[in-house]
Symmetry: C2
Subunit: 288 residues, 2 copies
């Protein structure tokens, strides 16, 4: 496995593979890898000749009060895990390499409507940062396929829409959320949790299970589903709800009555750690 730090070197590698007509699968990450990331690599390995993983904590997608500086980083561990899983190249550029004028970045990619609610409302500018860095990485690595986890459901919809709207020549592939044995969605941010908080953090998944059970029993009123979810969270001392929402699975617009594929999504602060999770209701959107 190779580690590449500069855009110029990455381009040389990409060009070489293009001449050889080797297809590239790309897994963008912010590092601190967990099984969720590695399941994306597994899928990418099955579908491509080469797998490139980027490890880049993208400052553009963090708000000024957010955890850019404290976001967990462990390149040696990531490198070992990536190698074991069969990654061919890690692309790990510096902030200066990706944003030579940082913190100025005159050009941004903006996706409207899809980013109005959910994490877009709580984290202004977040998805502009995501769309911009994904656009840059896709232009550098020029993969045939790029892989995203469904844990970041809104991110997946934003990236898919950007790719369609800007005609970026890549196929976006997704894989289901990986969970710990008890159901907690895997996230690099779980490392922030104290033992006590780790227990409370389960409330996100539990509330989704409650929602899903009610849905299966026939409940279609979003307000009732959300209220049931809210009650689960309210029972946990360290938990503070950021949002609980039921949205159309594609447009991400909030629904009052569930009539088609929808997603229950929530963000909850567990102590100082903000966690997100989601579940599809009515319709199998897990594979795409």
């Amino acid at each position: 496995m190779e580690t590449i730090r500069t855009i110029a070197e990455m381009r040389r590698w990409v060009k070489e593979k293009a001449v050889q007509q080797r297809e590239i699968g790309f897994v963008p990450t912010m590092g601190y890898l967990h099984e969720g990331h590695l399941s994306l690599v597994d899928l990418a390995k099955k579908e491509n000749h080469e797998v490139v993983m980027s490890i880049f904590v993208n400052p553009l997608q963090f708000g000024p009060q957010e955890d850019y500086n404290t976001y967990p980083r462990d390149f040696d561990r990531d490198s070992r895990l990536a190698k074991e899983t069969g990654v061919d190249v890690i692309f790990a550029p510096s902030v200066e390499e990706m944003y030579p004028y940082y913190p100025r970045q005159l050009t941004t990619v903006q996706v409207s409507e899809l980013t109005d609610g959910l994490c877009g409302a709580s984290r202004p500018g977040h998805f502009t940062g995501v769309a911009t860095v994904v656009c840059k990485l896709l232009n550098i690595i020029q993969p045939q396929r790029a892989y995203f986890g469904q844990k970041d459901y809104q991110q997946v919809q934003v990236v898919k829409r950007m790719v369609k709207d800007l005609n970026i020549p890549v196929v976006i592939r997704t894989a289901p959320t990986k969970r710990e044995a008890d159901g907690l969605a895997m996230s690099s941010r779980n490392t922030y949790l104290s033992a006590r908080e780790r227990k409370d953090a389960l409330c996100l998944y539990e509330s989704l299970l409650v929602c899903s059970e009610l849905y299966e029993k026939g409940e279609r009123e979003a307000s009732r589903l959300k209220e049931a979810m809210r009650k689960v969270i309210a029972g946990r001392p360290s938990a503070a709800i950021d949002y609980i929402e039921i949205c159309d699975a594609e447009t991400l617009q909030p629904v009052t009555q569930i009539t088609g594929p929808s997603v229950a999504a929530l963000a909850v602060k567990i102590g100082r750690t903000r966690l997100i999770d989601n579940m599809i209701l009515g319709g199998n959107l897990n594979c795409s």
Copy 2:
């Protein structure tokens, strides 16, 4: 010469050329071709194996009060001129092909700072429309080089910056403004001018000549240069100044004293026709 109307067909052609390692030069236009466009084709022919010209009047870059509907169109004439000049493929998609959800386009590319002044101030949203369509076209055609005329000086700077900031794998090439025998910058919009207006329209070039002469004589005070330009325009009955500005040639920020490469730029309404022109002061930026 081939004419391609769909993105899917364009992608097939591009893929074929990529496999053959044929380099593509791309000349984006809104049609109604003149010698300015054709000089870009000439340059593209010298530097590439294949030349693709797009002809697409991009609704996204027109304001609601602007001339999208009346913008001159003559595909047969364009097609003949393109063929004569050696274009290999004309890409002429419909609005529906480029913007399937038109007038909704959720994803846009925004370039800040460079677009604050000049045409960016007079035409809000114009450069977002330009950057978005150029980004889309570059993703569809994937050229090695793309060609832009210096008549649209601010557009060139915006596109160059977008390409750099988003790491789009293309080289932006420019060619000098083509002018009529009397000096009027060639523009598809010149066709709007009545015989009387055509005479008045020369004031843009004349004012730039006056500016340039004063500059050559040593004048470095932007206010004096602009005042001299203003006087030239004021002498023409059908002319109304939109802006006259002296800017840093790269950042496009207005300067008060000329200390480095600068550009004198202006937009003037001649009757109902808005025309632009520009000239570099102090430094040869004509070739790049």
